[in-house]
Amino acid sequence: MFKDILETFSKANQFLVFGFQDIKVRYRRSPIGAFWITINMAISIIVLSFVFGVLFNTPIKDYIPYLSLGLILWNFISTNINESCTLFINAKENILNLKMNYSFYILRALWRNIIIFAHNILIIPIVFLVFNKQLTITALYFIPGFILLLLNLTWMMFLTAIICTRFRDVSQIVLNIVQILFYLTPILWIEKSFKNSFFNEVFSFNPFYHLFSITRSTLLGQMPTNNNWIASIVLLIIGSIITSLFFTRFKHKIAYWL
């Protein structure tokens, strides 16, 4: 798997160009183009912060920046994982007619979603300005945090793509898991609400809780704990090893399953 990814990186222009092309195709003939992404996201944020801000009775000044970052990140993560279910299946024509590394399809999707993420993140400076929130020095930790998130997503997508090509109804299971994780991860609600309860133990088993701590929290000025970093790194190592074994075992089968 690592070799496959390195080879894809040696021809990085391939997945970069085609990831970009995907966005172009999607928003062609629309005057504001890809900024529809930003608008859609802004609307969800406004509606959700209104509903949940009132529901949880939290000060809106802290809640909206928290929710905006959470939603944008979650949108990025969930789209990547959900799309990976059908990556190889949708690329059938391509796979059966032109020999390319499988990681091309993964990195192309990841890159496409990074571009979308970049559009969405434009909302954040506005939110921070409006609510007079400042970035602190801990925001620098966002960079290693985000890289760790990307690496973790890579193996998750690879693994999902392989399994879903063989067992078509796993896609439904994946969609379900992603949906459930959305509720189990502190995105809409705030961690503090469950302080000193056994829920805190439960969170530590949710990988996305840690991945959120090393990304979103840094931008909000909270330092991730050592446990957050360790959990994310351990997740990466174990996940990559499992996926790599899977890929080595099944890479010759993928074309047969299509």
């Binding site: 021809k11 222009n13 092309q21 032109l98 020999k99 109804d169 074309a255």
Partner: protein, 248 residues
């Protein structure tokens, strides 16, 4: 190092997943319920697209592949393009391969001709410098002139073919794999395309060409493989095999 392709007892057999076996749910039910539900018809059926193919293709050979529909020609081409790994047996390929099986991969109908040339070249693995170098000769070859900056979907079928052809044939592979003769278009273009194809074939060390045309294979290939139901029915000198095939 001379390019070569050696197939040793290579088979390609596709698992046919009926709806039952595609699904994880049924897998689990089966493993829980054990013998109660597992009948023979639950087993995955395999279709042998190619069976125990033994062949040694040496540098300099021009191979024609013939056979009826479903005889395994396309699978054979894909096997030689490394798209399928043999399910049993081995394949050993030396040399870089270009396969012109489907020349439309990577084309986006909404993009202009020029953009499509770039996209397609990127797909084929060229870097930016090579693309900048190639793009003008390719545009010139297509003779699309002012149309090159119009969206691909506005082209006539012939023009679309020209673009795909031109973009795919600016290559210098050691092993060239082709499904049917590509040259199309009006009479003038066809002649030009023919010349182009012949020149890449001449430059390549190995050609594998699947076709239904007797004349074409007779003209281009020195050796013919006749596939029938996934097996090599006959194989050898072009004239002899073609005569057997077309007189059957």
């Amino acid at each position: 190092m001379n390019p070569s392709i050696i197939l040793n007892n290579a088979s390609v057999s596709f698992p046919i997943f009926n709806v039952k076996t595609y699904s994880l749910k049924n897998r689990i039910i089966k493993s829980v319920m054990g013998n109660i539900t597992s009948n023979n018809h639950d087993k995955i059926v395999h279709i042998d697209a190619l069976k125990n193919i033994n062949i040694h293709i040496k540098s300099g050979e021009r191979i024609g592949v013939i056979g009826g529909n479903g005889s395994g020609k396309s699978t054979f081409l894909r096997l030689c393009s490394k798209i399928y790994e043999p399910s049993t047996g081995t394949i050993d390929i030396k040399g870089n391969i270009s396969s012109l099986i489907n020349v439309n991969i990577g084309i986006d109908p909404e993009s202009t001709g020029r953009e499509n040339i770039k996209l397609r070249l990127v797909m084929l693995g060229y870097n930016n410098d090579q693309i900048n170098e190639l793009i003008n000769p390719i545009i010139e070859f297509t003779e699309l002139n002012q149309f090159i900056d119009l969206p691909f979907y506005t082209y006539s079928t012939g023009m679309q073919m020209r673009l795909a052809f031109a973009t795919s044939t600016f290559i210098k592979p050691e092993i060239l794999i082709m499904d049917e003769w590509l040259a199309t278009g009006d009479k003038d273009f066809q002649e030009k395309a023919e010349k182009k194809l012949n020149s890449i074939i001449e430059d390549s060390k190995i050609l594998i060409l699947a076709s239904h045309s007797k004349d074409l294979i007779l003209k281009t290939c020195s050796r013919v493989i006749w596939l029938e139901n996934g097996l090599i029915n006959q194989e050898g000198n072009s004239e002899k095999i073609l005569e057997n095939y077309f007189s059957k």
